[in-house]
């Protein structure tokens, strides 16, 4: 049985699909209440790492534990009562309403024989409110815009009452206002309810603004781990993304702010002038 502690510990974790290692000797500890962003180029292993953390994939080598208990020993249902995942995208071939989708977040709590309880309905109503989509609850999921769908998926994960929330690029494909809304919900969850957050992030500037700790991955290994200021340096980004950038300061929050430099312009001359 899991306690309320949900610290995630990965020791020497390696994983491969059919061809070649995707993750290599990952050592990562995430304590209760942390808010961690995973960054790195496409294919560096961010999504795989999240899937390992929630136990739907098992490591080839190494050990992953949740609250001190090895994930291998925890039944899926137990894990799902503590860990929720917001995937990048899913589609539903049938016309489910938003309320019906969010209620599915209660799956790990619902008994096959007696069905859902009053508490399940209360928790999914609460999740709709937290995600700010009460007004959408009777709409069909498939009729919604990408930004609205992402909030529904987030609400479904919140209905799971997670102590650890894993998000896979929650803001990709969203417009600026939806990006901010989603991240603000996640942040307030972290700050007010102490939910541990691990999110794969594409947008380095958003990652810098919203996360306390960033983990930079390159080809399946962790190359930097620390505060945004420590991780988001010109040299580390040059090394990992093979892109020339200038790191400045966010004008308001003074978080690191990354400006991409175009490749065509000879970089040295440009900087010199």
């Amino acid at each position: 049985m899991l306690s309320n502690s949900n610290s995630l510990l990965m020791q020497k974790v390696s994983f491969s699909y059919f061809n070649g290692l995707v993750l290599r000797d990952i050592d990562l500890t995430v304590a209760d209440g942390e808010m961690v962003g995973l960054i790195g180029p496409n294919g560096c292993g961010k999504t795989t790492l999240l899937k390992l953390a929630c136990g739907v994939l098992s490591p080839v080598r190494g050990e992953i534990s949740l609250g001190g208990i090895s994930l291998k020993k925890l039944p899926r249902k137990q894990v799902a009562r503590h860990v929720a995942v917001v995937p990048q995208y899913f589609n539903i071939p049938f016309a489910f309403t938003v309320a019906e989708v969010v209620l599915l977040g209660r799956t790990p709590f619902v008994s096959a024989i007696s069905g859902e309880t009053r508490r399940d309905h209360e928790m999914s109503a609460l999740a709709l409110g937290l995600a700010g989509i009460n007004h959408l609850k009777n709409r069909y999921f498939n009729d919604l815009s990408g930004g609205e769908r992402q909030k529904v998926i987030l609400a479904m994960a919140l209905a799971q009452e997670p102590r650890l929330l894993l998000l896979d690029e929650p803001t990709t494909h969203l417009d600026i206002s939806h990006q901010l809304e989603v991240l603000e919900v996640v942040k307030s969850l972290n700050r007010q309810q102490g939910v541990t957050i691990i999110a794969a992030m594409h947008d380095l500037n958003l990652a810098s603004l919203f996360f306390d700790r960033l983990v930079l991955l390159k080809e399946g290994t962790i190359v930097a781990d620390g505060s945004p200021r420590e991780v988001l340096t010109e040299s580390s980004i040059q090394d990992v993304f093979s892109a020339s950038v200038k790191v400045s300061q966010h004008p308001v929050t003074s978080a690191p702010h990354i400006v991409v430099l175009p490749r065509e312009v000879p970089t040295n001359n440009h900087l010199a002038s």
Partner: protein
């Protein structure tokens, strides 16, 4: 709660429709018997009441020894196929999935064909040799398909569909080969055709006694999977995130759907369209929530097949049509109507 009330109203209405359909089906035929008499003789039969018999004794024989067997069989077949259709469509997230995708149809057909080659008079304690052979053929096929589709500890849906298709094709070919080369079978082409087109051919209550518990039990067990089937609608990966043991439940649901289908083919041969259309019709009318969809589809499928079978044996009596022809003739236009009317899910 509102949702519960609505579900109760829907299910009670469908159950009443099924009872009405059964009465009507028993009443119609070469000799028509008033529905009220049927109710009275049934109540007498179960020692619930003691009405004066105002009907011919022969009527009672017609109802209990001929018509009711057939009507109950039709209801079981319809319920089993519609439920299997819901299970497969929900699990595979494919609205075009029907109960026969796991190869049960070809397996049952081959089993029945082989049974027809055997010397007559071989009966398994009143079950009939063809139904037993069809049932076994279907089960053997399912096992074969599952084992072919397994990759390590997983059964990917795509390999499941491919294995089902390949095994079906192979078994159909063997069946054709048998029919072409066996002179005995060529005399029975009409029976084979009736089986393939789907005809309810049940002679003994003992057949019902074996199949009914399987079908009813199968539907009840399906209900326990209904909430998880909703989660499966979001995809296997999401179902795993929600704490479902995906591989295990997928196998259980596939086995359950295949068993229901095998039960149906043993009573009726290959009745098409019920397993495809009924889940759609119910889903378009009531929404995709499997907690309501499964029982409602079972009842609607049962009613539909009872009515279709009644038409099959009365339309051009005394000649009987295969019920599969009726289900397709009614089912296809009904399906088109539903798709045109409700644009909730599809553009057509």
């Amino acid at each position: 709660m509102k949702r519960r009330n609505r579900a109760a109203v829907v299910l009670v209405s469908l159950a009443l429709a099924l009872i009405g359909g059964v009465l009507l089906a028993c009443a119609l035929g070469a000799v028509s018997i008033p529905p009220l008499d049927i109710i009275k003789m049934t109540l007498n039969k179960i020692h619930f009441s003691d009405f004066q018999a105002t009907w011919q004794p022969a009527s009672e024989t017609i109802i209990f020894q001929i018509r009711l067997i057939r009507v109950v069989a039709a209801a079981l077949v319809g319920a089993a196929l519609a439920t299997a259709g819901v299970l497969f469509q929900g699990l595979l997230r494919n609205p075009m999935a029907d109960p026969y995708i796991t190869g049960t149809s070809a397996g049952a057909a081959l089993g029945a064909t082989i049974a027809m080659m055997l010397p007559l008079g071989l009966a398994f304690s009143g079950l009939g040799v063809i139904p037993v052979a069809a049932f076994c053929g279907a089960l053997v096929t399912i096992l074969l398909v599952y084992n072919l589709a397994r990759v390590g500890s997983k059964t990917p849906i795509v390999s499941m569909l491919l294995a089902g298709f390949v095994v079906s094709s192979m078994l159909s070919a063997i069946m054709s080969l048998l029919i072409m080369t066996d002179s005995e079978l060529q005399l029975k082409l009409h029976s084979i055709f009736s089986f393939l087109a789907g005809s309810i051919s049940v002679q003994y209550w003992s057949q019902i006694a074996v199949i009914a518990p399987l079908v009813i039990g199968g539907i009840i067990i399906s209900l326990f999977f209904s909430f998880h089937l909703n989660a499966f609608s979001l995809g296997e990966e999401q179902a795993a995130y929600l704490g479902i043991n995906v591989e295990r439940e997928k196998l259980l649901i596939l086995a359950l759907g295949s068993l229901l289908t095998a039960c149906a083919v043993s009573l009726s041969g290959l009745v098409g369209f019920v397993g495809l259309v009924m889940p759609h019709a119910v889903r378009l009318a009531l929404g995709p929530d499997h907690r309501l969809l499964i029982p409602a589809s079972a009842l609607a499928g049962a009613t539909f097949l009872v009515i279709a079978d009644t038409l099959a044996r009365t339309l051009i009596a005394p000649t009987e049509l295969p019920v599969g022809i009726i289900t397709a003739l009614i089912g296809a236009p009904f399906f088109i109507y539903l798709l045109r009317r409700t644009r909730r899910e599809y553009a057509f």
